[in-house]
């Protein structure tokens, strides 16, 4: 009998959170959760982000429905719909965020759809000391303008699918704001290389701007290597936790449109590390 996360002790949750951070992701199988219980479980770890979009159930606004289903008018009932999703993370395009964890709980499965997770903390750890120092010297500017999560499709999301503006997130950042390419995880202090493709529009060493095409050509093959990846095909009852600072993820297209996941994003504030 698989342990049910609903029965986890505080110590179990602490171990789970540590494993999410250490490995970048954790999958638990054969879980049996209602939406309220899914939120309850996540809040044992931290504070959940709440949104008021059409994909957030009114009674559990912490949850976003992720699905390929459409309603009678042809509108997506969940975020992301059925297309391939480009590599991305929660908080994409933001220079600061606190919801470091995303959970996905499978309600309806599609056995042909794969979520690939790439660990850019493990990738950074493998670099030579010379390369590490070089990348530590780089700052990047993120911008969501023109970004599409659907790289091989004309689909651009249901109207009003996302608020991505600086004002919305109260970041008060300016067009020339930057963040380090190499970050330090706030909990375990390990470094990670935040190569957030598409959103990463500019790169600098001091005041010198780097050629962005060369920058991408250098990093892409170093980051997206098979050995840093894990792959998940969601089955009913699977719950995945991913650290959004340590990892980036993509999804193949959905072939079974009823596939449905519940998604939450939250911080680690309820864990005493």
């Amino acid at each position: 009998m698989t342990s049910q996360i609903l029965n986890y002790s505080d110590e179990d949750f602490k171990q789970l959170a540590n494993k999410i951070i250490e490995d970048g992701s954790v999958v638990l199988h054969e879980q049996n959760l209602t939406r309220a219980q899914h939120v309850e479980v996540c809040e044992r770890i931290g504070e959940c982000e709440k949104q008021g979009y059409w994909m957030n159930p009114k009674d559990t606004p912490e949850i976003s429905i992720v699905s390929g289903q459409v309603d009678e008018d042809g509108n997506a009932i969940g975020m992301f719909r059925d297309q391939e999703l480009e590599w991305h993370v929660n908080g994409a395009g933001r220079h600061k965020l606190t919801e470091y964890v995303v959970s996905l709980y499978c309600v309806e499965e599609c056995v042909d759809t794969v979520l690939s997770i790439c660990n850019w903390s493990h990738m950074f750890a493998d670099l030579s000391e010379e390369d590490k120092d070089y990348y530590r010297s780089i700052d990047v500017h993120l911008d969501g303008k023109g970004v599409s999560l659907w790289p091989n499709s004309t689909y651009r999301g249901r109207e009003g699918e996302f608020n991505v503006s600086n004002e919305y997130y109260k970041e008060a950042i300016q067009d020339d704001d930057k963040r380090p390419l190499v970050g330090v995880h706030p909990i375990d202090g390990k470094e990670y290389l935040y190569f957030l493709i598409q959103y990463l529009k500019e790169a600098y060493i001091g005041n010198k701007q780097l050629d962005i095409k060369e920058f991408y050509a250098d990093l892409y093959p170093k980051v997206f290597r098979s050995k840093y990846m894990k792959h998940v095909v969601f089955r009913k009852g699977d719950i995945l936790f991913m650290d959004q600072v340590k990892t980036i993820h993509r999804r193949s297209p959905i072939t079974y449109m009823d596939r449905m996941l519940w998604r939450t994003a939250f911080d680690y504030s309820h864990i005493k590390f």
Binding site: H29, T113, V114, R225, S226, H231, V233, D238
Partner: protein, 275 residues
Amino acid sequence: MTTHILNFSDEQINELAKEVVSTGHVILHDQHGLTQQQYVEVCNRIGNCEYYNYFMNPKDHPEISLVSGQKDDEGKAIGVFGNTELQWHANGTARHKFDEICVTLYCVVECIDTVLSVCNQCDAFAGLSEADKKRFRTIDIQLDNKKDAIYKNTDEDGHDLPEKTINTGKEFYKEDVDRRPLVGKHPNDGREYLYFMVPYIVGAFENGERINHEALYEELWEKLFKSKYMIHHVFRVGDLLFMDQLHTIHRRSAVKNLDRLLWRCAFDYSNIDFT
């Protein structure tokens, strides 16, 4: 720095094979640049490779089968399996006895939307109740490839295979039995596994008496195909996967990039010291 399999010592090859048996599969990354000749040599360090003379076997390396969605100028598949979803299966299709219990797949051209799922039927058996274990040990199954059921979830009729297709059947394989135990014992580690060869089961016998194999099928499906017994892999160029064909069973989602190309070999463990 990933160690290249070409540089493996005999001891490392031995340890690799033991790990394949013990965990059901092993993936090595960044094995770039293997030639077909080197690939066969690597496999032959573990055991004797099966070889054929089908359309998907390179003439100078008949141990290799091309696995691809590509088609030639006449619209015929250049490799085995085409581009459609593949039902759960293992090497030794519909055979009651076979020696080539290790399969490798080496990625030459990738499709990042195609996933290979591997289910460990040894772990699944270990996870059964004692009552189920006892009952399943009394069951024999009968296998047959005549329904071509590996493609049963698609509307495609024959994956556009050239004229000379794949030989199957007990005459070709010179089989002297018509059934095998549902629960097998691995010849190398002695652990029991549940041999639920999904597309090929055409009959079942409990204590020698024929039973409704369709009911057995439904029961086994529920008990075997659990997420906790599965791993999933998306091949990237240079990945080399080893799978034990008794301890595991695998399926594949449809191929989107039709240029995807894997090289496949099947072989025994005859060069490995398991003592």
